[in-house]
Symmetry: C2
Subunit: 367 residues, 2 copies
C-alpha cells in the first residue's frame, strides 16, 4: 500500500539514503500515550502513561513521530464503548492524525525518514508521541501538505467526498440538502460541493441570533448556497425556498436523526437518497411509509471505517486523497476551525470535545 | 404493447377472423359501474350506476367484458383519497382484474375477441361489467390461465416477484424475512421463494391460538420455512432461531411499519436491504442510526404502479408475467383464498374488505 502511495505522491527515491539518520536519537525512545483500560466516561477512563519503545525495529516496521491528532465523535464513542468496532484493551486512543516517519526498518521500501503519513485504518492510536507501526498500516501524503489539514483529512473530508460521489450521479447545478451543516463533515461537503458546482442547502441547529448570523456568514463564505435553521425547515417558507430551484434535492446527508432526518426525507425529490453518517440527537431515523413507497426514497448509511477496509488497496482511495490534497494545496479546501491542546492537557481537551456548540475541532498538538 | 404480448403468449393469428363476431350482441350495451364522485369513506362514497356504451368503437379500441376484480388495499386508499395517484373524478374504481375481449376496432392488431386481458396501468377501472379501452392499455394473458389467478396476478404476485428479484442477488439457500406474511404479497413471496429455493422467515400478527395454528399450517403448506408471531420476534428465542441458519437474512419485506419494521432491520445481516411495500400499522419506519451506519442496511420502497410505468414496454414485465403464468398453470402458484361478491352487493364487499383479520381477498365476480 505505502509503496503504491509513494508512487502516486511523487515518492522521492533519493530519500532512501537518509534512512538511518535518526538511529542514534531514537535510542531509548519513550512514547507519551493517552490510553484506556476500560470503556466508560472518557473524563474518567482516559489516562496518560509513558511507554518505552523497543530499541530494535522489525525489518518492515517504521517509527512514526506523531504531530497532530484530533478528537472526533468516533473517538469519544470508542472510549465510551459504544462504537461499532472496539480495540482490545488496554488501547492507545485516537483514530485520526498526522505523523512524520522517524525511522524505517531495513526492508521498508515505500517510506523514508521525514515522510508525512496518516493511519490507514481505524483504532491505530494517534494520541501518542511515537508509535512503531507497519509500513502497510500508513498512507504517505505529499510532503508539502498543511499539517493541520493532513491531521484532519481522513475522517471528515473523506466521508464528505464519498457521500457526494457514491450514491447519486450528481450533475453541476444539482441541489443537495444536509443537516448538522456546521459539523466537520458538513463544512467539507460545502467546500467539495462548491468546487464541483453542486448547490447546498445547509441546515443548522437553532441558536442565538448573533451566533446564527456568524455561523451563516462563515458557512456562506465557505461556499454554502443557503443556510437555514431546523426551525425554518419546518415552515412553509422552506417549500417556497426549494421552489426557487428548478429541480428538487437528489441527495441528503443526515447526522442528526429524529425529526430532523424526517424533514430531510420530506424535502428530497422523487427517488432521492438520504445518507446517514451520524445520530447527534440519539433518535432513530423515521421515514414515513409513503416516502419510501411512493417517493421511492432510499435510506442508507455511510461508515468511513468500512469503506476504507473495503478499499484498503484500492486506487479509489488514493485518488480521493490525491484530489483532497490538491484542493488543500491550492487553498480550495480549508481545515476546520481548531483548538489545540497538548497531550498533557488531555482532561481539558476531552471536556471541550464533549460539550455542545463548541467553537471548533479539538486537536492534540504533540510538538 | 399488446402486440408484443401476443407474440410472447403465443398469439393466435387465425383468431383475427373471429373479430366481428360479437357486433350484434354488443349494440346498445350498458356497463354496470362502481364509481366515486368524491374521495372519502368508501362505505359512503362508492356508488353504482349504469353507463350506456357508445355504439361505435374507435379503430384502435377494444371492448372488454370484465370477469373478476379484487378489492386491494390500494383501491380502498384510492377511494379515501389517500393514494399517491388519483384519477380525475368521477371515476370508476378498481385497479386490478381480468376481462375478456368482446369486440375489437378495425386497426387492433394484437388482440382478438375472446382474449384474456389484464389492465396495463393503475386506475383503469376494473369494477364494471364492460369497458372501452385502448389496445395499448391492456396486457394479454394465455387463454388457459385460471381466471381467479389472472384477476389477482398483477398487484400482489408482481410485487413479490420484483421485490425478490430487484434488490439483492439472492442465491439458493439464502434467507429472507417478512412481516405481514399472510398478506396477499406475503403468500406470493412464500410461494415464489419456495420455487427459487430461498428460505423464508414469516412474521404474522399475534392472534388467538387456534387461528395462529391454522395460519401457521396454511403458510407452511404453501412453502414457508418458519412462521412466527410479532411477539416471538421480540424474544431472545428469535436470535437462537436465526442462528440455525448459516447466514443472516439478506433481504426483508415490510408492510407494517413501526416496531415491526424496526425488528426486521434488527435481524437483517450486514448490508441487508429492507423493502417497504405497505404500512398497515400507520406508523413510520424507524431505523436505528447504528443499523444504517455500522450494519449498512439499506431501506427502500417498492411501488408496483411506478415499476409498471417505468417498464410499460419492457420485456422484463412480460417475462415476469410469463414466469408467473407458467407457475400458475403448473399449479405451483395458488391464488389467495377469496370471497366473491356481485357488483350489486358492493356495500357488503367494501365492508368485508376493510375489516381486520378477514378470511380472504374480496373479489367482485361479474358474470
Amino acid at each position: 500500500m505505502a509503496a503504491l502511495v509513494a508512487r502516486v505522491f511523487k515518492g522521492k527515491a533519493f530519500q532512501t539514503v537518509l534512512r538511518r539518520n535518526f538511529l542514534i536519537i531514537l535510542r531509548n525512545l519513550s512514547s507519551s500515550q493517552l490510553y484506556v483500560e476500560n470503556f466508560g466516561d472518557p473524563s474518567l477512563t482516559l489516562k496518560k502513561k509513558m511507554y518505552e519503545l523497543p530499541s530494535s525495529l522489525g525489518p518492515k516496521e517504521v517509527i512514526v513521530q506523531m504531530i497532530m491528532a484530533p478528537i472526533n465523535p468516533s473517538d469519544v464513542n470508542m472510549m465510551e464503548g459504544t462504537y461499532f468496532v472496539q480495540p482490545p484493551l488496554p488501547a492507545v486512543m485516537g483514530n485520526e492524525g498526522v505523523g512524520k516517519v522517524a525511522k524505517v526498518g531495513d526492508e521498508v521500501r515505500g517510506l523514508n525518514v521525514g515522510d508525512i503519513i496518516i493511519p490507514s485504518d481505524t483504532a491505530w492510536g494517534t494520541w501518542q508521541t511515537f508509535k512503531i507501526t507497519s509500513e502497510e498500516d500508513v498512507i504517505k501524503l505529499p510532503a508539502d501538505i498543511s499539517l493541520l489539514s493532513a491531521a484532519t483529512i481522513s475522517v471528515n473530508p473523506c466521508t464528505a467526498y464519498r457521500m457526494l460521489k457514491d450514491y447519486v450521479d450528481l450533475k453541476p447545478g444539482d441541489v443537495i440538502l444536509q443537516n448538522g451543516a456546521n459539523s466537520g463533515v458538513g463544512v467539507s461537503v460545502i467546500q467539495l460541493a462548491r468546487e464541483w458546482n453542486i448547490r447546498t442547502i445547509n441546515i443548522v441547529r437553532d441558536r442565538p441570533d448573533f451566533e446564527k448570523l456568524k455561523l451563516k456568514h462563515s458557512l456562506t463564505k465557505l461556499g454554502a448556497d443557503i443556510v437555514v435553521t431546523e426551525e425554518f425547515v419546518r415552515t412553509p417558507q422552506m417549500k417556497d425556498l426549494l421552489k426557487t430551484y428548478t429541480s428538487k434535492p437528489k441527495l441528503a446527508f443526515n447526522c442528526v436523526g429524529g425529526q430532523s432526518a424526517t424533514e430531510l426525507i420530506r424535502h428530497l425529490g422523487q427517488r432521492g437518497v438520504m445518507v446517514t453518517y451520524g445520530g447527534m440527537s440519539k433518535r432513530p431515523v423515521m421515514a414515513p411509509t409513503g416516502a419510501l413507497i411512493f417517493k421511492e426514497v432510499v435510506l442508507c448509511g455511510y461508515w468511513n471505517t468500512s469503506w476504507n477496509r473495503r478499499h484498503k488497496n484500492d486506487i479509489n482511495r488514493l485518488t480521493m486523497l490525491s484530489d483532497l490534497c490538491n484542493l488543500i494545496k491550492s487553498s480550495k479546501f480549508e481545515p476546520p476551525p481548531c483548538e489545540f491542546y497538548s497531550l498533557d492537557d488531555y482532561k481539558s481537551a476531552i471536556e471541550k470535545a464533549t460539550e455542545g456548540f463548541k467553537g471548533g475541532k479539538v486537536v492534540f498538538k504533540m510538538e
